[in-house]
Amino acid sequence: MRRLLIANRGEIAVRIVRACFDEGIESVLAVSAADTDSLAARLADRVVVIGPASASESYLSVDRVVAAALHAECDALHPGYGFLSERPELVDACEENKIAYVGPPADIMRRAGSKLGAREVAEQAGIPTGKGTPGLVDVEDAVRAAEKLDNFPLLLKASAGGGGRGMTIVRGEEDLRAGFSRSSTEAERAFGDGTVYLEPYIEQARHVEVQILADTHGTVCHLGERDCSTQRRYQKIIEEAPGAGLPEELAEKIRTSAVELCRALGYVGAGTVEFLVDVKTHRFVFLEVNARVQVEHPITEMITGIDIVREQLRIAQGKPLSFRQEDVRLDGHAIECRINAENPRADFLPTPGRIEKWTVPQGAGVRVDTYAHDGAVVAPWYDSLVAKVIVHAADRPAAVALMRRVLDRTGAEGISTTVDVHRAILADPAFAEGPVTTRWLEEHFLPAWLTQ
């Protein structure tokens, strides 16, 4: 691997440039016309302008991204997260053009990317799943299927995609009838696949996911789990590693399940296996596989000392993982706060604009992954993530305390951000005691905070 095209933008592009630098690989950044002056563009060894600001004509165009890789004579391509990162068509196109795709092969991505397909593999591997239905034909099929399941509440989910789109909690037949076509339409629009299915809804759950790295030599390792229960509208806001308060035996069972599932899938690359854990019964169920690097990968890097993006580059070159499972130690506790350019008091409306001053303290155990700097522009065409503020300390209380001190000194002048919400969350006794469940932020924290 001599030269790699980064088919992404924002903080993850900066992150991948860094990994390329570390591995001695030339980095070429594909940018839209909106990003020619971005931090990643400044740091990359070369920049190729692929299209106008609109993502559909730039970052979402398989043709243009691959054309850029050929144009700059790249022999590899890293898709980052979001955009084209889970599109098997991009993997196919790379393969046709002899470009090493940093991620799993197309067939595995197809299998892992379908929630129903992955669930089937999980069931065969003996991993607990949500006992969900198959894909539903129509609303009557859904009503019949619901009757066969234990009881309401149920969760209506899209088989394709992620990010909570197409997801609806249904508490009775009426909800189901009302929600079915909405979910299906939303999934169709978002992912080009309107298939939806039902599974039992766990009221008090934690979102626990396992980081996997698998090389082309058949080695599959996990790097421990993350807790991403602090969510709003199924979007992660704060992530932690490891899963504090999980009994070690349970945690280990979840980690092992993730490894087994990836073995069964024949998985290659970095991936994440997501689970829900019922906080009352301590039962866990498989949710889905994310066949890419995740936004929250740095907290796992902090507690393991393993550079996940560099490992991705190694795997894509056919090299073995640089460590063995028994070398992986989960050391201390790490927390990540996603700082978004949003106005929390206006329903988290995005607030694009120019960052006049960007300030984050420097300190031991403090890491900030961002594209922000004085004068950086938060463009209105893309997502609102500005920075990931990450801390690492000896244990969860110490990490919470450190994050509070960091957030107190963090700010972006010129745009509205979610820093205030993070400060309030970190100061909340329920959060500090932890762990919270996936509904806590929306049902308990935010209603109280917004009335202050």
Binding site: R3, E26, V28, A30, S32, A33, A34, D35, T36, D37, A41, R42, D45, R46, V47, V48, V49, I50, G51, P52, A53, E57, S58, S61, V62, D63, R64, V66, A67, A68, H71, A72, E73, A93, P352, G353, R354, E356, V377, V378, A379, P380, W381, G414
Partner: protein, 168 residues
């Protein structure tokens, strides 16, 4: 006076509820201009600093040609170094990264040469992106004064392709 203060009030409120950071409304002898969020009124100058619509530097209607991009010393040799178009004249730029074809097929005469007369809508070349051919058309009528990319040359979004001296 073409507008009453009450009219102006409505206009200000309308603009406020819009997403514009800068706006100007002229009705007859009345001009209402407003700005916010760092935008500044009637600032026609200062290319570098002034975002006209909010995400301006990015949104600038004419994207910077790739030649202007920062290329650190360590960068691999640039793949394409498009000529900088001569000043004056109307520049047609590439709509996408890709390969520029000057002729409809190998061996055929090019769509345009320096000196060709073109009408608005005439094809001046093709940009190919992964086997997908897109015609690039002139958006003004005039005379071609320069062709900036050779046949089969690599282009990026915004790369100048041809310059046209518009008809009067």
């Amino acid at each position: 006076m073409t507008l009453s203060p009450a009219d102006i009030k409505i206009i200000v409120a309308t603009l406020q509820d819009s997403e514009w950071d800068e706006a100007e409304v002229v009705v007859g002898d009345v001009r209402v201009a407003v700005a916010r969020n760092g935008a500044s009124l009637g600032a026609p100058a200062a290319p570098a600093a002034v975002p006209a619509p909010p995400p301006a530097p990015a949104a600038a209607p004419v994207p910077p040609p790739p030649a202007a991009l920062a290329a650190p010393q360590a960068a691999p040799a640039p793949v394409s170094e498009p000529e900088v178009p001569a000043e004056g004249g109307h520049v047609i730029t590439a709509p996408s990264v890709g390969v520029f074809w000057r002729a409809p097929e190998p061996g055929a005469p090019p769509f345009v040469e320096v000196g060709s007369k073109v009408a608005a809508g005439d094809t001046i070349g093709i940009v190919e992106v992964m086997k997908l051919m897109s015609n690039v058309t002139a958006d003004v009528a005039g005379t071609v004064t320069a062709v900036h990319v050779e046949n089969a040359g690599a282009v990026e979004y915004g790369t100048p392709l041809v310059t046209i001296r518009p008809e009067n």
